[in-house]
Symmetry: C2
Subunit: 341 residues, 2 copies
């Protein structure tokens, strides 16, 4: 066996297939599905396997959507399947609480992501501190990050690092970035913090893999990706494709290409109805910079008011609507209908 | 109506949905399918709509696969649907002949692509000349272009320009390129010729859109893309996504985004069984740099010999097997089987 340490640049891949992918199936994965995928990802050498309701700890509810399993069952199931991968969880303050965090770490979570809207890093302070006190690795991520400037994101990431985050970074929640935009943002963040920088892509404009490469070149060292891109709408950065591309770039991930291809096959057969693809709604949503979780209410409002859903997405993008403002969707649809008369 | 000339950089999009996409359905599109998509692409302002058997003029045969319709019927059907788009055809010398070219131009082909393996531009001379004599626009493209160096590709493209090609360029037939590799190749070609440079991407490594952007930045001005990426395996560059991304880049294509999204919806509903996605075979094929048309014989030989198709793809890549060498697939499969004993 070759025990020479790998001298190539190292990137840590973080796998939210069983969390962000949950959005694609209304949070209805069962224990067998969690177990079979976690087992395959663990066998492939995936460093962190994240699990939970799509919106994270404590989010299962009538309003957001009930998960099939409670947090404790999801965590316990995945924990049992992991022998070398660490287990990750995601939490957005407001949906999750300190009690949820304590329970997650009790059930074996090693890595805790605390998420905030891109300009609201201050809300992460308490839970990053709680995570550190619990002895888990604390990370801070900014959602809908295309809505803030590189300087603002750098400032917000530095704040999270001050709060104790051991890695910080940005999510392209709307799938809107071009590679050059990722470059300038990740570069600004990397210059502002001393901890690893995270990039989480979505594929609405077909650029998730390229944006991940741009992030690496700009200084990111943690990339999120999911098996076969499993995720809402156009899906996430496709894990096994990213592993292949990083091999071509001579970047080390510690992941077996052959085994991650097998894990992707497991995910395709067992988790999803069909692999994600970039439909017209996904393109409009990415171009508008609207949170992909808006798809269902947008389609409903468009149908109810008899307006084109693509027009509605673009109008919501112009109004810079963010998660939590779902009530506005119906209002904007009615305005479009009135304007069309 | 705004008649101010568009001052932004201009890119011409060339749409081989009804030719390269044909590979995804064993060349079985019928006249209604050709008509409905050509009508939608024409309405969206697509400059060139290419049509034909996946392997081009004259290729319909028992060995390669019979198309449902003959060349004349395909061309006549699409010609009738186009009021403003030009009609394109593709021909690889050996499969097609000068008679096929003459018939295609007689049936209304405006743009003729003559294709050769990346190091064999000399075979295009006669047919580029015939095309010019027939009064159509002649273009020359190099297949499997990742197998040649930037300098070699520039030399081969310059040769095709000397033969009369009015645009020249490269196809990423295996879907293997990283953006930096496209940059250096297109830059070398653009420096060597005075005609527009063409780039044709495939999405095996999830980089078709990013590679197309890299091509533009390096000097390409003709990009190929298909509706919803319709094409063999992982598919081609996705047209409507590329249009959206070029809009974000402030590059003009003359195509209506709303109407090209509608055309992509037509293609999804009427032409394909399912939108292309990047499965494990496609990743292995791209990484190996093997022509995607090899998928079916590779799967057959792998099954026949009881070897892993991904191993077989990677072994074929190491041997630099090219189209026309299909006989080698079974040999390599038997070698893998023997080596595994």
């Amino acid at each position: 066996m070759d025990t020479t340490p790998d001298q190539r640049p190292q990137i840590l891949l973080h796998d939210p297939t069983l969390r962000d992918g949950h959005h694609a199936v209304s949070h209805q994965l069962d224990a067998d599905q969690l177990r079979v995928y976690a087992t395959a990802a663990n066998a492939a050498g995936v460093p962190v396997v994240e699990v939970g309701h799509g919106n994270g700890l404590g989010a299962s509810s009538l309003q957001i959507g009930r998960a099939r399993l409670d947090d404790a069952t999801m965590l316990t199931t995945v924990r049992e399947a992991l022998t070398s991968s660490r287990m990750g969880v995601f939490m957005a303050p407001g949906w999750g609480t300190s009690d949820d965090l304590a329970a997650a770490v009790h059930h074996g979570a090693d890595v805790v992501r605390i998420a905030a809207h891109c300009t609201e890093a201050d809300v992460t302070e308490r839970h990053l501190g709680v995570t550190r006190d619990l002895g888990a690795e604390a990370q801070g991520v900014l959602l809908m990050s295309h809505m803030a400037s590189p300087g603002k994101l750098a400032e917000q990431c530095a704040l999270m690092a001050e709060f104790g985050a051991q890695a910080v970074g940005i999510m392209d929640s709307a799938g809107r970035y071009l590679p050059t935009e990722v470059t300038e943002r990740v570069r600004a963040i990397a210059a502002a913090v001393d901890v690893p920088v995270i990039f989480h892509g979505h594929n609405n404009l077909g650029l998730a893999v390229a944006n991940s490469l741009a992030a690496v070149d700009a200084g990111a060292s943690v990339l999120d990706a999911t098996a076969r891109g499993f995720g809402a709408g156009a899906g996430n950065t496709q894990m096994e494709v990213l592993v292949a591309v990083l091999e071509r770039r001579d970047v080390a991930t510690g992941i077996s290409l052959r085994k991650i291809l097998a894990a992707a096959d497991v995910a395709t057969e067992r988790l999803m109805k069909a692999p994600p693809s970039i439909d017209s709604i996904a393109v409009a949503s990415g171009l508008a910079g609207v949170f992909s979780g808006f798809k269902r209410p947008v389609l409903q409002s468009a149908r109810a008011e008899g307006v084109d859903p693509i027009d509605l997405f673009l109008a919501l993008g112009e109004r810079q609507v963010v998660a939590g403002q779902e009530d506005l969707i119906g209002d904007v649809a009615r305005q479009l209908k009135a304007a069309a008369r």
